[in-house]
């Protein structure tokens, strides 16, 4: 059984077609990069997988079942924008998460916060954008999930912290779990990807094993991406 199976998915906002008949299946235990320029449908697709948006047509199966309560337990999701109550302290957010999610590991969260140099007593509103992103990532990785979906996890952080975040992802996702990372910053992230999916104007234009693509095109994924989407 596939981790995620997407069948003929379409979604429009008003007259604008954001996803156009997308089909894609993702095997368990893989780290998959969902790559595309801004505004090409990555976040919309991710929101539909997380049952936060309803598609106009088509369906998404998570472990063979339609999305819903069960898939929300299986998937740990890092949204593109900070979704935390800014008035809370870090400690309070952790309490909130552990009350809310049965599979949340508070001690792991505390350890990650310590590793990421975050202060448990601090209010979220007092944190920089980069710190907020690190906190959200720590929370997402502290859930014992089958699937981790990270929407632009590197957006607001500097290159040095990017390496650190990639290491944190690599060393903390549950063994055998599936990871989907959407990004337009490719060079920093491509070495950890098993598969890549190129998404453009609401359509999937390429899916491949990462090393096979490097080998057939004789170039890095970053280079191939730039070639494909040159303006």
């Amino acid at each position: 059984m596939k981790a995620i199976e997407i069948k003929n998915l379409s979604k429009s906002f008003g007259k604008k077609k954001v996803l156009n008949d997308i089909s894609l299946s993702i095997d368990r235990g893989r780290i998959v990069g969902l790559l595309g320029k801004n505004g090409m449908g990555k976040s919309t697709l991710i929101k539909i997988i997380n049952d936060l948006l309803t598609p106009d047509s088509g369906e998404v199966l998570v472990y063979g079942k339609s999305v819903g309560v069960e898939s929300k337990l299986r998937i740990s999701y890092l949204p593109e924008r900070c979704a935390l109550d800014k008035g809370m302290t870090v400690k309070k957010v952790i309490k909130f998460y552990s009350d809310f999610y049965g599979n949340f590991d508070s001690s792991k969260a505390m350890k990650l916060l310590h590793d990421l140099d975050l202060d448990a007593e601090q209010k979220i509103s007092k944190m920089s954008k980069g710190m907020q992103e690190k906190l959200q990532l720590a929370l997402v990785l502290s859930r014992e999930a089958d699937i981790y979906i990270l929407d632009e996890p590197l957006g607001g952080v500097d290159p040095a912290t990017r390496d650190y975040i990639l290491d944190t992802i690599l060393s903390n996702f549950k063994e055998g779990a599936t990871v989907i990372i959407s990004t337009h910053i490719i060079s920093d992230i491509e070495r950890i990807l098993d598969n890549v999916v190129f998404i453009h104007k609401g359509e999937i234009i390429l899916t491949s094993d990462t090393d096979e693509l490097r080998s057939s095109e004789n170039a890095s994924i970053d280079e191939i991406f730039r070639r494909t989407f040159r303006c």
Binding site: E175, R191, I192
Partner: protein, 121 residues
């Protein structure tokens, strides 16, 4: 420290690095390799990529698996020597072909090399 680049298949770069460590003796026959997860963290790549590299080496007989203990370097020193010879042959051939481009005949190139050896000593 070794770090794979993004321009060619990463699993092949990792396999090549381990192979050259075996040939150079950095990894001796019978030595135990770190776990897949540890190697992945050290090289900052995906565990599946490391797994693929090790499988490649195992297929060529350079590594073997002991069911519960992990992966080890082969005891077959004959195989290691034959790979070493392949490496040496490649280096020698590429030297000769580069020298040929500079206008040296094979004999002149070999002569040059032995004189260089004399200078070094």
């Amino acid at each position: 420290m070794f770090s794979p680049d993004n321009n060619s298949p990463i699993y092949l770069q990792i396999a090549e690095k381990i192979k050259s460590d075996i040939v150079s003796g950095e990894l001796s026959p019978g030595a135990r390799l770190p776990s897949v997860r540890d190697l992945a963290l050290k090289l900052k790549v995906n565990p599946n990529t490391v797994q693929k590299a090790l499988a490649e080496l195992e297929m060529r007989g350079l590594l073997f698996t002991e069911r519960t203990n992990g992966k080890f370097v082969t005891h077959d020193t004959g195989l290691i020597i034959s790979i070493k010879n392949d490496y040496a042959k490649n280096i020698a051939e590429s030297f000769l072909s580069s020298m040929e481009k500079l206008g040296f005949s094979n004999d002149e190139a070999i002569n040059y090399l032995s004189n260089l050896g004399g200078e070094k000593n």
